[in-house]
């Protein structure tokens, strides 16, 4: 296991870099898309609500691999040429955005509805009340689940291995096929994944516990 790490260090590091950049880009993208669709779902306008719900239901119920492969082999034939990394990152973004939308929606809804009404009766518009009163409170509720989504993204980004995306799992497969040391390689790579995911998921658990001590309306 040690020899795998030392002999293939450069490949593994570049794999980690790709895995992290795909995950970060996808987190950013899915956060933006996710918040937009969450706002759609709770908006007072029915067409937006319907649109938001359809988006969330569709992408929560289709495997990531199907979405990512679609972007890798179908989109380039008809729309635009994108490589494995881009296709994988777009797939991760869309897939994750549906979960983030759900998380953010639940976060917003857990903020007492009375606050929105109070803000509106004080002369704020819907958007103002949302931006200044409801969202800041919702953020605290959604940060731990969002952190967990990032952990999921790091894990799910292994789908790039299907798309020649040069991520850590892809590098692992290449190392296995050249060294044939399956157990050692997957243990070494597993360790690298844990280094990326474990600290963050413990931090999120800690925050969850700390913030949960404040009263929440369940």
């Amino acid at each position: 296991m040690i020899t795998i790490l030392t002999d293939h260090w450069a490949d593994l590091v570049s794999g980690v870099r790709i895995t992290l950049s795909a995950s970060l880009l996808a987190l950013l993208g899915s956060l933006i898309i996710g918040v937009i669709f969450a706002l759609f779902v709770i908006s007072p306008l029915k067409p937006l609500r319907v649109l938001g719900n359809i988006y969330i239901e569709i992408f929560r119920n289709i495997p990531l691999l199907v979405v990512a492969l679609f972007f890798y082999i179908v989109i380039p034939q008809f729309v635009v040429q994108i490589d494995g990394f881009t296709a994988g990152t777009i797939g991760l973004t869309i897939y994750t955005s549906a979960f983030i939308a759900e998380t953010v929606r639940a976060g917003i809804e857990s903020v007492d509805i009375g606050q929105m009404e109070a803000a509106r009766s004080n002369g704020m518009t819907y958007l103002q009340a949302m931006t200044y009163i409801v969202l800041p409170q919702a953020i605290k509720i959604v940060i731990p689940p969002l952190g967990n989504q990032f952990v999921n993204l790091v894990k799910n980004s292994s789908v790039l291995a299907f798309l020649a995306g040069f991520d850590l799992m892809y590098q692992a497969n290449l190392i296995v096929s050249s060294t044939l040391k399956t157990t050692d390689t997957y243990l070494a790579v597993g360790l690298l994944y844990l280094l990326m995911t474990m600290p963050l998921s413990y931090l999120m658990r800690y925050l969850e516990k700390r913030w949960a001590k404040q009263p929440a309306n369940d």
Binding site: Y72, I73, P76, Q77, A164, L174, S177, T182
Partner: protein, 275 residues
């Protein structure tokens, strides 16, 4: 303070326990004598490609893998163990086959496996049962006519775990190589323009090009790829039996029949099918 210490000790113990478990002290399947085990269980497992036309392709009609490699594996098994032996065909990819053999998931490989000096360190090979050569496949009208055209900025699609990837690295060091998990995905990626050319053995590429008249094999072969049946190290007795079986099916005409069945009608196929 004390609780923390206990926690650390427990974690260390867990980790060590897992390492011991994983370090492998179990009864290694790959090192059991294949001849003995198959005679006892009357069942032999062969690793065969499932997405490679002509060699091993899963039939949509029957769900079974069919092809040259399947027929060779079956004929060899029956020659060694008798007609009633159960031949279990396990689908493999270029990337998974060697690990599956070495780890004992399959007893032998008939999976378009080229005999190379590097692989000889890891597995035993039978005599050559097929001669292929590496080639390039491109979309018709492509600027790439041979491996020399794979210059800087071009992208070549290959299969993870195939030695065609290593060969093309040597023949065209400036080209970027994209390695996909299996032949079907690789061809789909070529069609989507993910690469400018796809490289593999000519016999495999002919099978793929037969699907789609927009694609052609260019530049002839630039390596020799003799295929052998793969067997685990230490299984010399089984290797000998396989070689004898290959000779026997050649003598009694079975081999020629299988060749004719799969390669009789391929136009433009210049790969040797001699043993």
């Amino acid at each position: 303070m004390r609780r923390k210490k206990n926690k650390l000790i427990a974690l260390a113990l867990t980790l060590m326990g897992m390492m011991v478990l994983l370090a492998g002290c179990g009864d290694d399947l790959a090192s059991q004598d294949v001849l003995k085990r198959v005679k006892a269980s009357n069942e032999i497992s062969w690793g065969v490609k499932s997405d490679t036309r002509l060699f091993g392709l899963m039939s949509i009609r029957t769900g079974k893998v069919e092809g040259f490699d399947v027929d060779i594996a079956t004929a060899v098994s029956k020659e060694i163990f008798g007609d009633q032996v159960e031949v279990n065909i396990v689908p493999v990819t270029s990337n998974t086959r060697m690990s599956l053999l070495k780890n004992g998931n399959v007893d032998a490989l008939a999976s378009t496996l080229t005999i190379t000096p590097e692989r000889k360190k890891e597995v035993l090979f039978s005599d050559v049962y097929f001669n292929a050569g590496q080639a390039l496949m491109v979309k018709k009208g492509s600027k790439i006519k041979s491996v020399k055209d794979l210059t800087k900025g071009t992208k070549v699609i290959g299969l993870q775990g195939s030695n065609s990837v290593d060969n093309v690295k040597k023949a065209a060091p400036e080209a970027k190589i994209l390695q996909l998990p299996d032949a079907a995905q690789a061809f789909a990626a070529l069609k989507s323009g993910q690469g400018d050319a796809m490289t593999s053995d000519n016999a495999i590429l002919y099978g793929l090009a037969a699907d789609d008249s927009d694609y052609e094999i260019v530049g002839g072969t630039f390596t020799k790829e003799p295929y052998g049946l793969g067997i685990n190290l230490g299984q010399e007795k089984f290797q000998k039996a396989v070689d004898q079986a290959l000779k026997a099916i050649e003598t009694d005409g079975t081999y020629a029949k299988i060749v004719k069945k799969w390669f009789g009608k391929i136009d433009g196929f210049d790969g040797g099918v001699v043993k």
